[in-house]
Amino acid sequence: MKSNLRWSILAAPLALAACSNTIETPKSASAVQAEKPLALNKNPYPSTYKTYPGVATAIRNVTIFDGEGMRIENGVVFFANGKVSGVGGMDTAIPEGTTIIDGTGKFVTPGIIDIHSHLGDYPTPSVEAHSDGNEATSPTTPEVWAEHSVWPQDPGFSRALANGGVTALQVLPGSANLMGGRSVVLKNVYARTIQGMKFPDAPYGMKMACGENPKRVYGSKGRMPSTRMGNIAVNRQTWIKAQEYKKRRDSGKEYTRDIGMETLAGVLDGDISIQNHCYRADEMALVLDMAKEFGYKVSTFHHAVESYKIADLLRDNGVCSAVWADWWGFKMEAYDAIPENAAILHNTGACVVIHSDDENQIQRLNQEAAKAQADGRRMGFNISDAEVIKWLTYNPAKALGISDKTGSLKAGKMADVVLWNGNPLSVYARPYKVWIDGALMFDASNPKIRPVSDFELGQPGEGDVK
């Protein structure tokens, strides 16, 4: 198991520098001739994800965490035609013709959502030829889109499904750059193309990064930024250009398209959410002011190991913190990380999301949440199981702008459902069945309902339990 993949890759700037002369392209190459603004196609690589067939299914006698903080004992969840059709107590009526699963001793949650993944753009096997997550040739690359790097055959998707119950995830560019490019939200369903995995109508995000990584990557090349003040300066200059671009675009006059500026203008329009890698409290506070200066909003601070120090500020600004339970000490800006981060945030009333940034921990987000809950309990903050499940379901869905579609077990939402063989906040629990849009995509008791990527076909361990 290689730890801190993204980080260790960043720690080898020579390898990146070796490519930079050939990869770096002049800005004009990414700008194409003007078109009429109205003809602009905002979705040129549209989702072709299709819902797979499912049968109307009801799980009864089951403990339900609905994803929005409610717990129901001996409840019923039923779904049909890809949508949740009802959730309730033991008396809930189940229509004729529904396949019934006895959930005695089991638990149901909405599908787990990882707001921070590099599956596909840093896939396994983690060979250099697969290292597609950081366009580390310029500190601002808003023009790149993560979906153009994601390899849909990454074996990691299957592990996240089978062991983690992950049904949707945001794949982000890495953190080498201040502005790393667009993210993509995926359904965790294998497809031949990345378009086939794209979550229909999910808003785009844009990755930004504070702190050590950008200044190290570019400082080591003798370029700006080499300091934290350089980080902010380059960001501000770029936002000024984006404001000018937006003004010109909105003027109705002819203008030259620039795909990087289109992304930044999309942020200023409020169409694209900011997903901001940031460790230290003081830097998050500066980013919040920068966002106000230029008129955009930060959806979520990622990693955010010092969020607990400014939980009130984050609450008041309506910003989520996507955090690990207990990562710490691997770099200077992670030195003050504490396991109570999530609990202090929650107790202060700020939004908590548990994220992975890791192809292994994406398989155990439920366990990471359970550890964070326990650390909170020991400092006197009693956070219910149902609230903690929200950190993995509704909260990431909301931060991604897809909470109207998934993230909780509400009638009419996508039937993204995990049936666990025990309480998912126990170390002994694993997914038993996972449905995505009402289709059974993983079944622990049926080896045929276990995806095997092309890469693993014909290899040792093909189709094995993982």
Binding site: S3, P155, T348, A370, A374, V427, A444
Partner: protein
């Protein structure tokens, strides 16, 4: 003067522990750690730093300090099977990172013992999570032999090393090949040639045929060759393990232990036959490299079923800071019992894989790793099932001495439990 002040500060932070007391821990669910079933309502008696007895009908010595463990679990401390504990404070801050001594020009002779710093925060953080002993290995750089590792205790004192030069550590597979010229052929050649040079050294020859080793390196390898020092080898792939087992036939006295071992299940029968114990990464299930194509979490269970001696380790997996994951990893291996088609360990086996088994594999099972009479009194009282995510250590005893459980993370937690500043800045709040 500066040195004096530093020493004074260190003494304040790590007050000399009180002499080992006589302690009786009563009423708890006692886990001996040898794979046997837990004993409800058991008593554990500690005297002079050693376990006197653990079980039911154990007499409590007069004058013993009693710790009531009713409703709690009492276990041997966690023995972390493979770590870089104490070799780094902040991994990415070079001045605090002593994991690799590869650029020193030496290889096998490197001895991590003096670099293990008990004042580094991973000691206190992992101690408070019930980890009491750890296998501490160097990282390799530029040579298949990384140097000599140690067994450490996590006690809050100034002597972290339980056993220095407890083993030699080597890299095979992809990482080994990279440091032996780019090919596994080079790894095997280097291995054989270096051991021959160790024999040259033993024979009193001042110069070595291939000039691969310095005299100090040769001296260290000689003890490996004689079987006096274990050789821990990081190897993941099935073929690499098979070829290493062939190599062992040519060097039968070498005591090999395999570390990592993601594809161990594919050669489990051969490992059992060769009598090679393993310190396995518990949850590797991705083809992170081409030597891990067969990785599955069922690896440990399958090897155990084939008769391989298996402990849990965490090579290259946050191994300087997160030893506290060891119990979670063991719990996950237990959970596999409830997954159709998967192979895990029973709870009792899993706990043994993080206590007595690693101690036995490292050759210190006679004095560490369980609550059997005569063993060093490394005892942890937990507020629940120690493998469960909600549980925590409430008492940690190392060598019979009750340990402080505070750490820097707790201080930050307490300062910011209510983040808003009060009458004075947070900097005054302590």
């Amino acid at each position: 003067m500066r040195h004096f002040l530093y020493a004074a500060a260190a003494i304040a932070a790590f007050a000399t522990p009180v002499a080992a007391e006589t302690i009786a821990i009563t009423g708890g669910r006692v886990v001996v750690g040898d794979g046997s079933a837990p004993i409800d309502g058991g008593t554990v008696v500690i005297r002079d730093g050693k376990i006197v007895a653990a079980g039911t009908s154990v007499a409590i010595p007069t004058g013993a300090r009693q710790i009531d463990a009713s409703g709690k679990w009492v276990t041997p401390g966690v023995f972390a099977g493979f770590t870089r504990l104490g070799l780094a404070e902040v991994d990415a801050v070079n001045g605090t990172n002593d994991k690799s001594g590869g650029r020193s020009g030496f290889s096998a002779a490197i001895d991590v013992a003096p670099a293990i710093d008990p004042f580094r925060s991973p000691f206190a953080v992992n101690r408070s999570s019930g980890v009491t002993r750890a296998v501490v290995a160097p990282e390799s750089a530029g040579n298949i032999f990384a140097g000599q590792g140690a067994i450490a205790d996590l006690g809050a004192d100034s002597n972290p090393v339980t056993k220095a030069r407890a083993f030699q550590f080597a890299e095979f597979g992809e990482e080994g090949a990279a440091s032996a010229g780019g090919s596994r052929a080079g790894t095997h050649l280097h291995f054989r040639a270096m051991l021959r040079e160790a024999q040259d050294y033993a024979a009193g020859r001042g110069t070595f045929d291939d000039d691969l080793l310095k005299a100090e390196d040769a001296k260290s390898l000689l003890s490996v060759l004689k079987g006096e020092t274990r050789l821990l080898i990081h190897v993941e792939g099935a073929n690499d393990m098979l070829r290493l087992m062939e190599l062992k036939r040519d060097f039968p006295s070498i005591k090999m232990v395999f570390v990592g071992v993601s594809e161990g299940w594919r050669v489990a029968r051969e490992l059992a036959q060769a009598g090679i114990p393993v310190i396995a990464s518990a949850l590797n299930d991705l083809p992170a490299t081409f030597e891990m194509l067969g990785a599955t979490q069922s690896n440990i269970g399958r090897m155990k079923d084939a008769g391989v001696q298996v402990a849990i380790g965490m090579i290259n997996d946050r191994d300087s800071h997160q030893l506290r994951y060891t119990t979670q990893y063991a719990g996950n291996i237990v959970s596999l019992q409830y997954v159709p088609g998967a192979t895990g360990l029973t709870w009792d086996e899993a706990f043994a894989a993080i206590s007595s088994v690693p101690a036995e594999i490292m050759g210190v099972g006679d004095r560490l790793g369980s609550l059997k009479a005569g063993k060093a009194a490394d005892v942890v009282v937990w507020d629940g099932d120690p493998l469960e995510l909600s549980s925590a250590a409430t008492t940690v005893i190392i060598d019979g001495i009750e340990q402080p459980l505070g750490n820097r993370q707790n201080r930050l937690r307490d300062r910011y439990a209510r983040p808003t500043e009060g009458d004075l800045p947070k900097a005054y709040d302590r």
